[in-house]
């Protein structure tokens, strides 16, 4: 679950990480009122769950109350398209009005789980404000990393080592170290999956301030953070993906046209690969999961069918925990509920495969069967001609 910048900064602030003074606003009037309570010039920042807002026109620096109002008005209610959103963009329902910071230098700091280290790590770089992936690819020596032993938590010496490694002046060693320690506390207390400050600025007065703030919470741990649930902004999420997530279905919309329904994440990815190799394009990733009931399968199918780009469907079920007859029942139910006429290529194996095929055969739907992935591939290729 992602937080907005303004929510992340509120959290940072509670943990003592310096952020610019700012107020979130939902209307032009609120934005102007916010500006009145802050010193100008101001930055008006679109609150969306996506990076790249600056280049996309989502961040505006203005110097009069009226300009704050205009900037807010222009952003609020619009959809911001950044390189991370896809062409449909993300809806802007809030802006963050902040006192503008005069920046003398930009750093990068983040906290995340590192697979190789098998635990949390702090990442920092003196190349702030840039795409960190790019920094890592082109100048990996500019990326500093501190692995954290969960027994001790992040230690002050590690914070200092990062601060010295970033080449900070002596008076910023302790504040920078303290920011890293606070990030770790936030990470642990709230079960985060990612914390990022990009950029962490040194302002003209030589103080550190988090100009941006990114907090991703781990979905798997939300059961112990009910207090954080109200921070969720569903409107930022793809509606189909969100609906799937709530029902424990893994669904990711892609830009192709072959809807696919699979049980198991690995097989679902493999199925997408088979579609692509056959010269077609998958419309989605969809893992209906192991212990799925007929209703859950039906829901998954209906989510898949809601995508207007889908022109044909591939079902690939390896019956194990999920029995083929259950899967078939769910599919038929969803097809009937949605009145779909789409053709369906079905490959079923495993538990109760015969019963499953019988149900589909008897359904009157436009079903073609394939026995192996090779046959699936051939059938898909044929359908393209």
């Amino acid at each position: 679950m992602k937080l907005h910048e303004y929510q992340s900064k509120e959290m940072f602030s509670r943990y003592g990480i310096p952020v610019p003074r700012g107020i979130a606003a939902s209307t032009r009037e609120e934005a102007i009122e916010a500006a009145q309570n802050l010193d100008g010039p101001w930055v008006v920042k679109a609150q969306v769950h996506a990076g790249g807002r600056g280049k996309a026109g989502g961040i505006k620096v203005v110097s009069t109350h009226d300009e704050v109002g205009n900037a807010a008005e222009a952003l609020l209610g619009s959809r911001l398209v950044t390189h991370q959103t896809g062409p449909e963009g993300a809806p802007v329902h809030k802006v963050l009005v902040e006192e503008a910071t005069k920046v003398s230098h930009e750093l990068y700091v983040a906290l995340m789980i590192d697979r190789g280290f098998r635990g949390p790590v702090v990442i920092a770089s003196a190349s702030g404000g840039m795409d960190i992936e790019e920094v890592a690819a082109t100048t990996p020596e500019r990326i500093l990393k501190e692995g954290i032993d969960p027994v001790l938590g992040l230690q002050p010496f590690q914070g200092r080592r990062l601060a010295y490694g970033l080449g900070l002046p002596q008076e910023l060693i302790r504040p920078a170290s303290q920011i890293a320690l606070s990030l770790y506390d936030i990470f642990i207390d709230n079960d985060c999956s990612l914390l990022e400050i990009n950029p962490l600025a040194i302002d003209e007065a030589g103080k550190l301030v988090a100009l941006d703030a990114k907090v991703d919470l781990e979905d798997d741990a939300m059961f112990r953070h009910h207090d954080l649930l109200p921070l969720r902004d569903r409107e930022q999420e793809d509606e189909l993906e969100a609906q799937a997530l709530e029902n424990n279905i893994a669904y990711v919309k892609l830009d192709g046209y072959v809807g696919c329904l699979v049980n198991g994440a690995g097989l679902a990815m493999a199925t997408m690969d088979v579609i692509q190799n056959a010269g077609a394009r998958p419309a989605n990733f969809l893992d209906v999961g192991g212990g799925a009931s007929e209703d859950k399968v039906a829901l998954a199918v209906s989510i898949m069918l809601s995508d207007p780009e889908v022109t044909q469907v591939l079902v690939n079920v390896f019956g194990g925990i999920l029995r083929c007859d259950i899967a078939a029942g769910g599919i038929v139910k969803a097809w009937r509920d949605s009145n779909s006429q789409l053709p369906m290529l079905v490959r079923m194996r495993g538990t109760n495969v015969d019963e499953g095929k019988d149900i589909l055969r008897g359904s009157g739907l436009d079903v073609t069967f394939a026995d192996t992935l090779t046959e699936v591939s051939a059938a898909l290729s044929a359908s393209l001609r």
Binding site: Q84, I113, R115, G116, R118, G119, P120, E133, A136, A137, D149, P150, V151, I188, D191, S193, E218, D220, A221, F223, R224, A250, V252, L254, V262, N263, G264, A265, G266, L267, A268, M269, A270, T271, M272, D273, V274, I275, Q276, N277, P282, F285, D287, G290, G291, F318, G319, G320, I321, R349, G350, T351, T372, L373, T374, V376, S377
Partner: protein, 293 residues
């Protein structure tokens, strides 16, 4: 013969009275696995299916049954506790099927186990099976397997079944099939399993099924290049997955160039693994590899 488990394995099922736990415990028992006990707090003293004693604690269960292996089906919020309880009770092989374990729980429990002679498989894994030993500790359909000399190791569940299905389809049986799990952090890596297959006299070659996310396949490639002495065929799923999106598995997300299918495939190819071009070609590729060997 096999790796990790065999016909002498004495297994406990943690969460045996739950929905998934009971279903899969039965399937394991039917397959031939020696399930000696179940553990569900509050159900101590009962018999599961009139035959398997259920205990309140792992300590008791291990003391009474001399079990050495545990298969965990408890809900995600309690999984780390279950793993720690198994370890504390003296279990040396812990297989955690549970999906959705909070990553910080996994961080802590892996640190807890560090340096101790305990192997954790998973979490979020399908488990493992040794067909020749009639020992299945996992959720895979037993009937698609057949005894043989192929080792299979994979990060996924159903895709492993697909692979096994294709192998069995061409008459290639399996020594052991291990699903190491789809989470970002897991107890046992590809390298760990490859080492075991390398040393197993009854495994002649290996099929390895990786996927996008992380760099575990690159570590495997390094190991294969430097130490692996047997033919190995490898498939990486997720060539068509877009960056930044989690493909179901918590660990299946492309966060950089090295996490892509292409990068992993390249590394494996350079290490000398035979590349399985598409998921449809698992059987054919293995057959060709064996013909050459």
């Amino acid at each position: 013969m096999s790796i990790l488990v065999d016909s002498n394995t004495r297994a406990i099922v943690q969460g045996i009275t739950g929905g998934e736990g009971s279903f899969h415990a039965r399937a394991c028992i039917r397959y031939g696995t020696n399930v000696v006990a179940g553990v569900t707090p509050g159900r101590g003293g009962q018999l599961f299916d009139d035959q398997i004693p259920v205990f309140d604690t792992m300590n008791e269960a291990v003391k009474e049954t001399s079990a050495d292996t545990s298969l965990i089906f408890v809900p995600a919020p309690f999984a780390a506790d279950a793993i720690a309880e198994a370890a504390d009770a003296g279990i040396s092989l812990i297989i955690c099927i549970t999906e959705g374990v909070p990553i910080l729980d996994t961080v802590r429990v892996l640190r807890h186990l560090e340096g101790r002679p305990i192997r954790l498989i998973g979490p979020n894994c399908p488990g493992l099976i040794s067909p020749g030993e009639r020992c299945k500790l996992g959720i895979m359909p037993g009937n698609i397997h057949q005894p043989g000399r192929a080792g299979v190791v994979s990060r996924s569940g159903t895709l492993t079944y697909e692979a096994v299905g294709q192998l069995t389809g061409i008459g290639v049986g399996q020594s052991s099939c291990v699903g190491i799990g789809g989470d970002q952090l897991i107890g046992t890596s590809f390298v760990d399993v490859l080492e075991m297959f390398n040393n197993d006299p009854d495994t002649d070659f290996v099929v390895m099924i990786g996927e996008i996310g992380g760099t575990m396949e690159q570590d495997a490639a390094t190991y294969i290049g430097e130490h692996f002495r047997k033919p190995i065929a490898s498939l990486i799923a997720g060539a068509t997955a877009p960056p930044g999106k989690r493909m179901g598995h918590a660990g299946a997300v492309i966060t950089g160039e090295s996490a892509t299918s292409a990068a992993k495939t390249r590394a494996l190819q350079e290490a000398g693994a035979v590349i399985i071009p598409t998921p449809a070609d698992i059987g054919d590729t293995v057959q060709a590899m064996l013909a050459k060997a």
